[in-house]
Amino acid sequence: MLAPPHALNAAYLTHFSAEQSCLNIEHFSLAYAGKTALRELTLSVPRHRVTAFIGPSGCGKSTLLRAINRLHDLNESATHSGRIAFEGEDIYADDMHVSELRRRIGMVFQTPNPFPMSIYENVAFGLRLQKRMSKRKRDDIIEWALTSAALWDEVKDRLHKSAWQLSGGQQQRLVIARTLAVQPDILLLDEPASALDPISTLKIEELIRNLKSQLTLILVTHNMQQAARVSDYTAFLHDGKLIEYGPTDQVFTNPHLQRTEDYITGRMI
């Protein structure tokens, strides 16, 4: 059965007004090499909140996250329809400056991917792509970004050592710092802690909670507890469709739909 065309009105799909949200996804569909991954998704993301996308493997939550950053541009076989508006502007519009968009919508991936450079150069990478700035200003931003990512104290004495020598958790926080340095409005996190040990995971979660005062965060996770711990809103996706979307407390304790409850309690999949 197809989803109702104006699911917005359904009680189990929370909608935010244009002032509250910074990202509006409208009837967005996406297919890879003819295989549909996202179907007619409509969803708005609130400003300065943590929104979690949950759902079983292959439900399209990572695909949706990558679509927000236009990373599918790198894949020629991906086609899409519908609209994703960032601060009111269609990100897939022809006149959209893609690299500027990606700077404003930062992304952190599942496996830490620091560049094979020094810690300093990793954080400076995004800054060097922009207009020239004095070394002092750059140093200040790098210190601020590393501090925001709760990494400064651990690396301040070895900024010029290779980033690949850091532990996995430190690398992931470095990647977050690298993204923060270009001062994005939205931070997309694609299962940022799934490759990390429990202690590092806790640090990342704490970081996510602290960062929402600065920017909007969208988190994709497999880990129900993690979604419950850090997010304000939760969207449950299944088979490329948005099933339920609402405040995290409500989705986890009192979901509207049986399917959501089944997934959260581990009865489905």
């Binding site: 690299s99 990606r102 991917n113 995004g126 060097r128 290779s162 020598q165 990647v175 270009v182």
Partner: protein, 457 residues
Amino acid sequence: MSRLWPWLCAASVALSLLMLAALLTLLLTRGLGHFWPATLESVTLDSGEIIAGEAVRETPLPHRDGEEQLYFTGNRDLDGNRWRWVAIDHIAERGAPRTLVRLERSPWGDFIGYLSAFESASERLEGDAAWHALTAALAHPTRERPSATLVLQSAAGEMLRQPLNEIYRAHRPNAMSWWEKTRYWSQGVWQFLSEGPRAANTGGGVWPAIFGTVLMVMVMSVIVMPFGVLAAIYLNEIAHQGRLTRLVRIGVRNLAGVPSIVYGVFGLGVFVYGIGSSLDAWFFSDSLPSPTFGTGGLLWASLTLALLTLPVVIVATEEGLARIPDAQREGAVALGATRLEMLTRVVLPMAAPAMLTAVILAVARAAGEVAPLMLVGVAKLAPQMPVDDEFPYLHVERKFMHLGYHLFDTAFHGEDMQTAIPLVYATALLLVVIVLVLNLTAIFLRHHLRHQRGQSC
């Protein structure tokens, strides 16, 4: 069988290593041994004839029992031969007089015999005094030597007057200490490395060939690297990964297997006769009919070898690019990098070790190629070096010398096979050493690059 196969594999490895060790030992002993001042013998035969020379090797006599000994006797100006086979049972007496002298000279090749006198404008010295005067004179550079004449006596007693300016080196090996021999040996090695060839490549050094080989390989690398890297980037990063790209990739890989002489023919037809002749007609018509670019030269040889090594470079670089995780590319792009910025700031630096591997493979392949070069610009004896102090300093249209071809020429085109053999070994050793040095440089650079980034592999 299941117990046996690890041993079989180990045996294969051991055999390969053994053969490699044997090859290197052969080259080292024969190549470097050539410069060691060998003992000179004075041999009296049953017939009463006396000869002097260096004992080279013994072989069984062809028609009867017994052994015969090959002596290098030199003195081609006296009896027309440099070599003498002597049946060992015809030898009445063998000795090694301390006063036996060996002179390296041109045009007649080595002299072995005795120094009777040293005659200069002012005086005539004999005996040890003559020897000291000779060594003192030879210590000066050739141009500053006084004009003098040596009076020489062969072992058989024939007298010979030899102008001093035709002599390069002189030694009395039987009177030399081990230390003096070592010094003489290292001087010999140095002259081999630093001087030009003499006597139709049967003597002297190989410096122009070393220089030509290294310069040609460098020019080739400069040409092939940008091409190969750009092609690899296109194939791996830009092209749509469809059937056509796969086909192109297979084609490139197969190009690496085309026999090198085919590239030589292509270079001759396209570069030399095609492009070269056109260049001559347009820009160098003054000097026609003598060709400038319309004949083999350094540029055409480098281009031909660049073409030959292009597949190797493309394949090695592409493998390096394919090994870079997509996460790195996405990480750069997600920070706002354009595709070009992603390539130049993340992908290419990460692929640098692979590119160095590509250089190593290309250099190893190119430095050893001889066949295509014979068609496109290598010379037995190049009259001018491809680099000199005349504008524009690098003369890419000139013919050049190459160690591989030099080796071939020395081995087969010399008039005297026996003299050529040690030179061939020495040249082969040098070729191996040069390829090794070029490769080690690249390997060191690659290691340094990886170490710098904290990469483990």
